[in-house]
Amino acid sequence: MKEAIAGTLESGDIMVTVGPGKGLEIELQSSVAAQFGRQIKAVITETLEGLGIEDAHVQAIDKGAIDCTIRARVTAAAVRATGKDVWKD
């Protein structure tokens, strides 16, 4: 696994960086952390586990993204990081 990024810092988006790590380590900065930090981390974890990734360091800078956006950005970052194209395979 190499380090890869997906997403932007626009309002309503989330910028996700996925790289090598041990276990799932998630660093989250969010404009809505107090109310949604727990849910955002849960969505990131579920998405990565769904892709079979159990070891990764994730840095996420969230600007109020909703769950479908988070899933899309995490998936794209993971595909870029692992080189495994989940959409094709």
């Binding site: 309503g12 404009s31 809505v32 952390a33 107090a34 109310q35 949604f36 849910q39 109020g64 769950d67």
Partner: protein, 473 residues
């Protein structure tokens, strides 16, 4: 001239008899460009005053230096319509020992008139004044340096404060006519380089939106008005400062032209949009408590049918002659609306103060038809919620809520719901809107509030509506 009241700021303060613990007041007509609050409070700090109570008509980002004056004990109490920026953030986290008292513009006017809010010394910025203190929010001289238009929020202060200091950046020949503040109410006149940056009047809350969602909301709001039963010749209207409510005016204009309907007056914060309709003959008169941009400020100077009003005459709940009592339709924005139609325009969904009551309470309560326009979500933040974070405008004064997912009508106004349904609008239950928001974003965790009261929200009649607690994160 004989009897000139012109003195230095320091001399004016000495003359006023100001003492520690007293109340000083300011208006916010220069909005984000205001220079008077910081100038005066800096001077009072230098002169060694402590424990002053600051009664502003509103405060914004530009008043960040007050943070230091609060820490140093110069300012120990604040009352205002709103707070924004770093000052709001610091106060939300518990900067002050005393809670900030929030009042609507009409509520502040009433409180001053009734003596509930006693002002010892008012420091009132003006774009022109003569040596006796006849003052105005614009200047007709060649040396005009600033313009803010209406001085509506300063007029109760000028009338009821024990001592009034006018601060101007254009001292003009006596008599400064027509005047807003009369020399009869003024004790001292202070001349400074600048009272405010007029280019920043339309900063802060006011946005001219190109956002497609705002435009959709504006079109829906316009349809609500047009089909509400109140859209007929001679109607009156007020709009808030949100992008969608300003844009709605454009669509209402088109319908006024096509049906040959004219409005009798527009009220409140007056914008260039309203001035344009007035100049086209579509709105007979403008009643202006606050000029929201330079176009409006110039118009109040030049147009006799564009009338300045004081906050009391504008929106006092107890003054039977106040203009809101004659208002048909108001379009307002919201940070949050709840399933009981209660509205919050003051505290963000992160628990941090980021807005102002303004005329929200006043116009919603007194108008015949109050319409709240807000998106269902802002990013991940829901705007239609089970319970508002802070209660500002009680649901009983809110009639219609317009979102991009449908229009909710207060069950207390079934006749309006009926008319809008007949017009083919998508009328939904407000509980369904809250459920829709929840289905997209999930249930937010509760905000980490502490147990210190940082703000008290007053209703316009002087009763307490809600309390704001410190936020811990």
């Amino acid at each position: 001239m004989r009897n000139s009241k012109v003195v230095s700021l320091e001399e004016a303060v000495k003359r006023s008899g100001l003492k520690d613990g007293m109340t000083i007041s300011f208006h916010h007509h220069f909005r984000g460009g205001d220079k008077v609050v910081n100038l005066v409070v800096d001077k009072l700090a230098q002169m060694g005053f402590k424990d002053l109570k600051l009664a502003a008509s509103s405060l914004s980002d530009v008043h960040k230096p007050l943070i230091e004056h609060i820490k140093n004990g110069v300012i120990s109490g604040i009352s205002t319509s709103g707070l924004r920026g770093d000052l709001a953030d610091a106060i939300s986290h518990g900067l002050m020992k005393e809670p900030v008292v929030f009042r609507s513009h009409g509520g502040r006017g009433s409180a001053i008139a009734k003596g509930e809010l006693k002002i010892d010394v008012a420091f009132l910025g003006a774009s022109s004044a003569d040596e006796l203190g006849n003052a105005c929010g614009y200047s007709r001289s060649e040396n005009a340096k600033s313009i803010c238009g209406s001085l509506g929020y300063a007029l109760p202060d000028a009338r009821y404060a024990k001592h009034v200091v006018v601060i101007t950046d254009d001292l003009v020949a006596y008599p400064n006519m027509p005047m807003s503040i009369s020399a009869a109410d003024v004790e001292s006149v202070v001349v400074v380089d600048s009272v405010g940056d007029s280019s920043k009047i339309s900063s802060g809350a006011i946005r001219d939106s190109k956002n497609p969602r705002d435009i959709l909301l504006a079109k829906q709001a316009a349809k609500v008005i047009i089909n509400s039963g109140y859209f007929k010749d001679g109607f009156s209207i007020q709009t808030g400062t949100g992008g969608a409510s300003l844009a709605a005016v454009k669509y209402i204009r088109e319908e006024m032209l096509s049906r040959g309907i004219k409005a009798s007056f527009a009220l409140g914060g007056i914008t260039a949009h309203m001035v344009k309709l007035h100049e086209e003959g579509l709105i007979g008169k403008l009643i202006d408590v606050q000029s929201f941009d330079k176009v409006a400020a110039e118009s109040i100077k030049d147009d006799p049918m564009h009338q300045e009003v004081s906050a009391v005459e504008y929106a006092s709940g107890e003054h039977p002659g106040s203009a809101t009592h004659a208002l048909d339709i108001v379009i307002l924005s919201a940070l949050e609306v709840d399933t009981d139609f209660n509205v919050n325009v003051l505290v963000g969904s992160d628990g941090i103060i980021r807005g102002a009551i303004g005329g929200h309470q006043d116009t919603a309560a007194d108008s015949a038809l109050s319409i709240i326009v807000c998106p269902l979500l802002r990013g991940r933040i829901p705007c239609v919620v089970p319970h508002v974070t802070t209660l500002i405008t009680p649901g009983k004064s809110v009639d219609v809520v317009v979102t991009e997912y449908g229009i909710a009508v207060n069950p207390a106004r079934p006749e309006i719901a009926e008319k809008l349904k007949e017009a083919g609008l998508n009328i939904v239950d407000i509980k369904d809107l809250a459920a829709k928001a929840k289905s997209i974003i999930g249930t937010p965790d509760p905000l980490p509030f502490g147990d210190k009261v940082v703000g008290i929200v007053m209703n316009r009649d002087g009763s307490v509506l809600d309390k704001i607690y410190n936020i811990l994160q």
